[in-house]
Amino acid sequence: MRVKNFATPLLVVIGIAITFALSYYGLVNAYYLQIAQYVGIYTIMVLGINLVNGYLGIFSLGHAGIMAVGAYTSGLLSKYVLTDPALFPLCILLGATAALISGFVISIPSFKVRGDYLAIITLGFTLILKSLLQNMEFVGGARGLRNIPGNTNIMWVFIWLVIAIAAVRLFINSKYGRSTMAIREDEIAAELVSVNIKKTKIVVFGFSAFLIGVSGGLLSHLLSYTNPNTFGYAMIAEGLIMVYLGGMASISGSFLGAALWTLLVEILRPLGVWRWIVGAVLLIIIMIFRPSGLLGGRELNIGAFLRQITRRDSAKAALEVANGGK
C-alpha cells in the first residue's frame, strides 16, 4: 500500500522531467510534439465538458464560448500586461478564472430551464460571445488576436493535465461529486435527501468552465493566435464528439476520446476532405455499437481488468476440478 501511495507522485515527477527535456532540447519531431500537446489540451477541455454533460447530466453547448473567454483573457494578458514568460502560468490561471465567472453566469438559467431548452441557452451564450468578439476592435475583431507569445509547451500541458485529472478525481469522490451524480440520476429525489441543487450546479458549472478556460488559454498560446471563428460550430461539435466518443462520466474516457479523435483527424489528414467522411462514419458505427461511448460511466482500470481475467481463469479451473471430481 505504501508503495502505491508513493508511485503516483513519482510518476508525475518523472513525467515532468521527461516533458521538460522534450520541450527544451528538441528530442522528438516537433510535429509529434504538437499532436501530443493537442491531445493534452483537448483532454483538459473534454474533462471540463464531461463534468457538466457527463457527471451532472446537463446537455450544454457552452464550451466553445467558455473556451473563448479563457483563450482571449489569457492571450490579452500575456501579450500586453504580463509579458514575462515566467508569468505564463499566472496568465492561464487568470484566463481560467475569467472563464469560471462565465461558468457561474451560465449556471443561473439551469435552475429553471431544462433539457433542450437549456442546450439552446448555452448555444446562445456561445454565439453571442462569438458575435461580441467579432465586433470588438481592441481584441482584433473578426481577424482575431495575433502575436500571442507561444509559451505553451509539452511540459506545461502535462502539468495542467495532471492538475486537471487530480482535481476532477478528488471532486468526483467528494461530497460534491456524489451530489452531482445524484442530481443526474434524479433531481427531485436528490433535493428530497437535502442535496443543495443550486449550490452544486453553480460549483460544477464553475469548475467545468475553469478547466475549459485552462484549455482555451493553452490552445491560444500554442497557436500564437486566436480568432472568433475558432470557437464556433466546429468547436462545439468536436467537443461533443470527443466527450461522447470516449464515454460520458469517465476520466479515462475523456483522455481516450480526445486522443482517438485528435489522432484520427491527424492520421487521416492525407485523405483531405475524406478524413471527415471516414471520421463521421466511424463515429456513427461506434455510436450504434456502444451508445454511451467507449468507456461510458466506467474507468479504464488495468489492475481490476487483470484481476477479472485471473478470477475468470480460477473460476474455470474450479469448474474443471468440480467436473473432474464427478
Binding site: 446537455f59 441557452i121 458575435s131 427531485i188 455510436m287 451508445p291
Partner: protein, 300 residues
C-alpha cells in the same frame, strides 16, 4: 410607413422560410425525441439537388413555372427518401439508447453529408437559376417583388396542407398518438417504425420546399449553408416550444421579426445575432418550455 410595410413583407418572407424549416425539426422531435442536427445539412443537399434538377429541366422546357414545380416535387421525393434511409441506417439501431448518443450521431450524419458534398461538388459558391419571372409591384410607396408573394403563399399552402394531413388522415392521427404516448400508441396497433419514417420523410420534404423558396430569395449557396440554417431553425423550433408544430411556425415568424427589426433599431447591423439570441434567452427564462410548449411535469 412605406418602410414599415416593406419590412413587413420581408418579415413574412423570411418567417415563412424559417417556419418551414423549424417544422421539420419540431416534428421529428415530437415523435422520436431527437434533436436532428443533420436537418440543416439535409437542407443543403436539397439545395444542391434542386440546382441540378432545375438546370437539367431548363434544357428541356423553357416554362420556368413548370421547372419550379417539377424540380421541387422531384427533389422533395428524393430528399424524403434520403432522410428515410438515414433514419433506417443511423438512427434506428439507437432506439432505446441515451438521447445524447442520438444527438452525436445526428451531428456525425451532418458532418458526413457536408463533406461528401464538399468532396464531390467542391467548395465553390453556386447560384440557383432564376425560376420566377422578374416582376416588381409598386403599391403606393412600397416596392415588392413577385417572388416574395410566391414564397409567402407557397409556404402558407404547405402549412395548411400539413395541418389538414395531421388533423384529418389516419396517418396524421397516428402521428399525434405516437407523440402523445408512444407505448400506448403501439398497443393500439400503430407501427411506431412506420410513423417515425413518415415524420422524417415529411420533415425532409418540407425542408426541400423551404430550400426551393430560400433559393428564390437568396440564390447564392455553398456546402456550408447547412450549418447556419441548422442553428436558426433549431432556435425557431425551441422558441416556439420544440415538438409543437404550431409553435415552430410561431417561432419562425418571431425569429424573423427579430432579424428584420433589430437592424432597423440598432446602429450596427452586425449586432443582429446578439439581439436574436438575447431575445431567445429572455423568452426561455420567462417561459422555460418555449412559447407554446407544454410544461413537462417531473415525476419521481
Amino acid at each position: 410607413m412605406g418602410v414599415l410595410l416593406q419590412q413587413a413583407v420581408n418579415l413574412l418572407q423570411l418567417g415563412s422560410i424559417y417556419a418551414l424549416l423549424a417544422i421539420g425539426f419540431s416534428m421529428v422531435y415530437g415523435i422520436v425525441g431527437l434533436v436532428n442536427f443533420a436537418h440543416g445539412d439535409i437542407f443543403m443537399v436539397a439545395t444542391y439537388l434542386l440546382f441540378f434538377l432545375a438546370t437539367w429541366l431548363f434544357s428541356m422546357t423553357s416554362s420556368s413555372f413548370a421547372v419550379l414545380l417539377a424540380s421541387t416535387a422531384l427533389a422533395a421525393a428524393a430528399i424524403g427518401l434520403l432522410a428515410m434511409i438515414i433514419e433506417r441506417v443511423a438512427y434506428k439501431p439507437l432506439r432505446g439508447a441515451p438521447k445524447v448518443s442520438l444527438v452525436v450521431t445526428s451531428l456525425a450524419v451532418g458532418l458526413l453529408l457536408q463533406h461528401l458534398v464538399l468532396e464531390f461538388l467542391g467548395p465553390n459558391s453556386q447560384r440557383v437559376p432564376r425560376m420566377v419571372p422578374d416582376i416588381k409591384f409598386t403599391v403606393g410607396t412600397v416596392n415588392f417583388e413577385f417572388y416574395q408573394i410566391l414564397i409567402i403563399l407557397f409556404a402558407l399552402f404547405i402549412m395548411l396542407l400539413l395541418n389538414q394531413f395531421i388533423r384529418r388522415t389516419r396517418t396524421g392521427v397516428a402521428m399525434r398518438a405516437v407523440s402523445q404516448d408512444a407505448t400506448a400508441a403501439s398497443l393500439m396497433g400503430i407501427s411506431k417504425d412506420f410513423i417515425i419514417s413518415v415524420a422524417f420523410v415529411i420533415g425532409a420534404a418540407i425542408a426541400t420546399v423551404g430550400a426551393s423558396l430560400y433559393g428564390m430569395a437568396y440564390p447564392i449557396f455553398d456546402p456550408y449553408i447547412g450549418q447556419m440554417i441548422n442553428w436558426w431553425s433549431f432556435t425557431a423550433a425551441v422558441l416556439g416550444g420544440i415538438g409543437n408544430i404550431r409553435g415552430a411556425v410561431l417561432g419562425g415568424f418571431l425569429l424573423a421579426a427579430v432579424m428584420v427589426i433589430s437592424p432597423m433599431v440598432l446602429p450596427v447591423s452586425s449586432y443582429r445575432d446578439i439581439v436574436a439570441f438575447s431575445v431567445l434567452i429572455l423568452v426561455l427564462l420567462v417561459k422555460p418550455s418555449g412559447l407554446l410548449g407544454k410544461r413537462s411535469i417531473q415525476k419521481v
